[in-house]
Amino acid sequence: MKPRVIIGTIAIVIFTSLLMWNFGNSIGSYVGFEDAERYENRVHVIGKWVKDKPHGFDNQRMTFNFHMEDEFGQVRRVSYNKSKPNNFEDAESLVVIGTMRNGVLYSDDMLVKCPSKYNDASNLEMTSAN
């Protein structure tokens, strides 16, 4: 074996293990609110906006507050430190990223699973009702 090949192989092995180790650390896991309460770390929670609970922008704390129901049926308040994101009302699901404290999910990042308009017949029902 040529020394170049050996050195190269070792370098690749070390590099790959480091990369994958770091990769493993940098990804999180989608959880429900109950699991999120047990973690201290940042979590991703998928859920739906509960429309009939109070929501709105808090002008004092500059947070957008709303209630979300996760995939397991748990409802918690979410406090998002920006204004209401685009497409919020229309979203079929939300991914809220943040930390859970005292039953409130404090979020600084939110993905709005955009109008997957594919099966959305609400507008059609609205127009045909008129």
Partner: protein
């Protein structure tokens, strides 16, 4: 009817491409020019058919034929013709069509310009990609298997379960569900076509590489493939730039790059195409690296298909901001990626033994070595990005429901390699254009760039007050790369300006590196109050209503109209104007913020926009979208958006009872005068039935009530009451009041008697002052309302983003360099083709 023709056109196009696919195979196998000619005709026919189908779809879109699902789903009757056209590729089905059209166009170019040796096999592989793409929009069911989603399917089929269609299958929706408001931007006209042109062109090096393996001609293919690969790369680069700029400047994604899967989908093929271009250049010059050129050409296209699979199959689901509808194409997309990878792998393994290999080892310090290392580093970077993007799949090795990695992962792992590339570019460029006896003479030549880069780096470190060693190294490498490549460029300009493509591109890359560093210094600009609040949050002193400590710091602040605030001790900012302009959409609002630089006294204005997304809103819940305004500067951008405002809240309360799209749009259009906060005047003039707004209050004058004689006050000869309703739009409190206006005859003269009515709910009083008989208006005086009207306010985010302009500058240099290189390689290739025709040795 049109839909049926369209569907059949798509099916016929699919069959034609299948025919061409088969004939190209036979033509390549038997080297039969007659078969090849028929295949060309079929390929052309396929093009005509797909143009016909696209034309019909565009016609349906332009004429608002909502009985077709694609038309219903992506348009509405209020869209202008430009967006109706853009709706053609706003959905998955249409974007596949656009991709096919691009593939057809570059295919025609290949037929025209490719020499006899490679033409048939190259077209075979090009047609293969077309067959797969066409299968995505077939929309036929064969033996119980549904293949593709037709763009011509009917709304009635799609919503067959809805009562409307159950009772009346012939029902045609009167209105479409509209184009996503975020897509209503001029950028949508240009961004998608360029990206699909890039995707289609990247199939060309792939096809050439496989053709070279098939026909055992491992060297000559790079000459025709080089300009095409460069062209594909230029297209992807322009598309990536347009997408980034769109995201940054109008979509408020917060920055120009977010490592989103869809962004990565065009970045990875670009990087691999880049690596391919470099190994092809090595191969061209030194007749080595045949294997690497072939592998990169294959990988660049395989990653395009792989990332298409990731973004369109629904695998990524929750991890992308881009909405992709899952059309159930998972299996077909999987088949596509298997087909392109397996055909590449199969041919490569078959020919591996006879592929040219090097007899001698490349010396460690040679241009080939450095250039090859650079290409390999590009490969490593793309592998890292692929791993990150594939988190939903391979992350399962670590956790159950993997999320995408933090952006930090991408930054940490790609930037060091990007720096290495910066150094490789200089070493390679020096050795490519000069002969050095030994490493010592090379080191001597590199002394100038090294010394001047060190000097400039020290100057920057001192001026910009940079303390992190990592950043110092980073800056040094980037500057070294700019100067090293710059020296080479100036030499070329004096001798042969056509040769500068490479060095300009490399300078562009190094300039980009500098620009990227700016993102590490993005800072929100906040006023003193907000800064103090954040400090208190950090100390744990701020409690919420339930007595728990608050952890979230503020990144936005509230500005009241005409009240200047100091932000970051750098600017004085004043919110001076709010206006409903209806510029691009009904209800669009524009704000004005005046900035004054504290030190220099220089001023500038920023006019961020916020608009209601009617198409995306449901009744009673208006969605608003911000359109940031960027004040560009050479060294820093000031990025401003208004996220909420008193005027937005008033508009919301005005339209909350409207239930239909049209009613909301009408209300937004017509409330213009009332919605602006007028100069506060406590006199309100109203005709019966009219409403006027004063700040957050709305005053509605219902009607006059003539008073019966017995109800009149003493001595009154005439009296009338006014039924008024006063509403606070924010608190929703209302109060009804009926102030009196009467004329009293006493001591031989008339006088007006209008007593002040005190309001119970609100802090002001009301008086019925007079009736203007000329205009039939009643005049009411709202005593003390000035104190209760709230000022106009906005919630605004202001961010300082350093060096964004430098990123754009680097991108433009890359584009310029690519263009020069394409011209040079193309001329080169034409000359070569002429010569070989001359000697008759094709």
């Amino acid at each position: 009817m049109i839909g049926i023709i369209g569907s059949y056109a798509v099916i016929a196009a699919f069959l034609a491409s299948l025919g061409a696919f088969t004939l190209y195979f036979l033509a390549a196998q038997r080297e039969d020019p007659k078969l090849e000619k028929i295949a060309h005709i079929l390929f052309g026919l396929k093009g005509a058919l797909i143009f016909l189908a696209s034309g019909l779809l565009v016609y349906l879109l332009l004429t608002n034929q909502f009985q077709y699902f694609y038309v219903y789903n992506y348009t509405s009757s209020d869209l202008s013709i430009v967006y109706l056209w853009a709706a053609f590729y706003s959905g998955q089905e249409g974007s596949f069509m656009l991709w096919i059209i691009c593939g057809y166009l570059v295919g025609m170019g290949l037929i025209k310009w490719t020499g006899n040796t490679y033409r048939a096999p190259v077209m075979f592989f090009m047609t293969m990609t077309q067959v797969f793409l066409l299968s995505m929009i077939l929309g036929v069911t064969l033996f119980g298997v549904h293949i593709g989603a037709s763009p011509f399917r009917l709304t009635a089929q799609e919503f067959a379960h809805l009562p409307v269609f159950l009772s009346n299958p012939a029902y045609v929706p009167v209105e479409g569900s509209g184009l996503n408001d975020l897509l209503r931007s001029p950028w949508i006209i240009i961004h998608p076509p360029i990206i699909f042109l890039g995707f289609a062109m990247m199939a060309i090096p792939f096809s050439f590489a496989l053709a070279s393996l098939w026909k055992r001609k491992y060297h000559e293919w790079i000459h025709p493939a080089l300009p095409w690969t460069l062209g594909a790369n230029l297209c992807l680069l322009v598309a990536i730039f347009l997408g980034s700029y769109w995201a940054y400047e109008t979509l408020s994604f917060g920055g120009y790059w977010a490592w989103d899967p869809v962004e990565n989908a065009s970045l990875v093929p670009w990087i691999l195409g880049m690596a391919g271009v470099h190994t092809m250049l090595i191969q061209k010059r030194s007749k080595i690296a045949h294997k690497a050129s072939i592998v990169f050409a294959i990988l660049a296209y395989v990653t395009i298909v792989y990332q298409t699979f990731l973004t369109r199959s629904g695998v990524l689901g929750d991890s992308s901001v881009h909405s992709f509808v899952d059309l159930g194409l998972y299996n077909q997309l999987l088949l596509f990626i298997i087909a392109v990878s397996v055909s590449g792998l199969f041919l490569y393994l078959r020919r591996m033994k006879e592929l040219p290999t090097q007899n001698t080892e490349t010396p460690l310090f040679s241009r080939e070595f450095f250039m090859f290392s650079g290409a390999m580093t590009l490969l490593i970077i793309s592998l890292i990005i692929i791993i990150g993007t594939s988190a939903p799949l391979i992350g399962r090795l670590f956790v159950a429901n993997p999320t995408p990695p933090q952006p930090q992962f991408y930054n940490d792992w790609t930037l060091p390699f990007a720096l290495a590339i910066g150094i490789f570019t200089v070493l390679t460029q020096y050795m490519w254009w000069n002969k050095y006896k030994d490493t010592e003479s090379l080191a001597g030549a590199l002394l100038t760039p090294t010394l001047s880069a060190s000097f400039i780096t020290v100057a920057i470190v001192i001026v910009a007050n940079i303390t992190t060693i990592l950043y110092m190294v980073y800056i040094f490498v980037a500057i070294f790369s700019i100067i090293g490549n710059g020296i080479i460029m100036f030499r070329h300009i004096r001798k042969n300006p056509k040769m500068i493509g490479g060095s300009v591109t490399h300078i562009g890359f190094a300039v980009l590196l500098i620009g990227f560093l700016g993102a590490a210094f993005d800072t929100p600009m906040l006023d003193t109050n907000t800064v103090n609040y954040n400090a208190a949050v950090e100390r744990g002193e701020v409690m919420d209503d339930d007595g728990f400590p608050v952890h979230q710091k503020l990144e936005v602040m509230k500005l009241d109209i005409n009240q200047p605030r100091r932000i970051n001790n750098e600017y004085k900012v004043t919110f001076t104007e709010a206006d409903i302009t209806h510029d691009n959409r009904p209800g669009e609002q524009r704000y004005r913020l005046e900035f004054e630089h504290l030190k220099s006294g220089k001023t500038f204005n920023v006019n961020p926009v916020i608009y209601p997304m009617i198409a995306n809103s449901s009744a009673g819940n208006m969605s608003w979208t911000v359109d940031p305004e960027v004040k560009m500067g050479l060294f820093r951008d000031i990025y401003v958006y208004v996220s909420n405002a008193s005027m937005v809240e008033r508009e919301n309360s005005r339209v909350e009872n409207q239930t239909s799209f049209q009613a909301v749009a009408d209300a937004l259009m017509n409330g213009y005068e009332q919605s602006l906060n007028p100069e506060i005047n406590d006199l309100v003039r109203l005709k019966p039935g009219a409403t006027q707004n004063l700040g957050q209050y709305s005053i509605t004058f219902d009607r006059f009530i003539n008073m019966a004689e017995e109800d009149l006050p003493e001595n009154a000869i005439v009296g009338v009451k006014a039924n008024l309703e006063i509403k606070n739009a924010q608190t929703k409190h209302t109060e009804k009041v009926s102030p009196l206006y009467s004329i009293i005859y006493k001591d031989g003269s008339n006088s007006v008697h209008s007593p002040i009515s005190e309001l119970e709910t609100f802090d002001f009083d009301i008086m019925f002052e007079t009736i203007d008989t000329a205009t039939d208006e009643a005049h009411f005086r709202l005593l003390g309302i000035e104190e209760s009207i709230e000022d106009e306010w906005i919630i605004v985010a202001i961010e300082k983003k350093p060096l964004v302009s430098i990123v754009w500058l680097g991108t433009f240099l890359l584009m310029f360099g690519f263009s020069i290189a394409i011209v040079r390689r193309w001329e080169d290739q034409r000359k070569r083709a002429k010569q070989s025709r001359h000697y008759g040795d094709e």
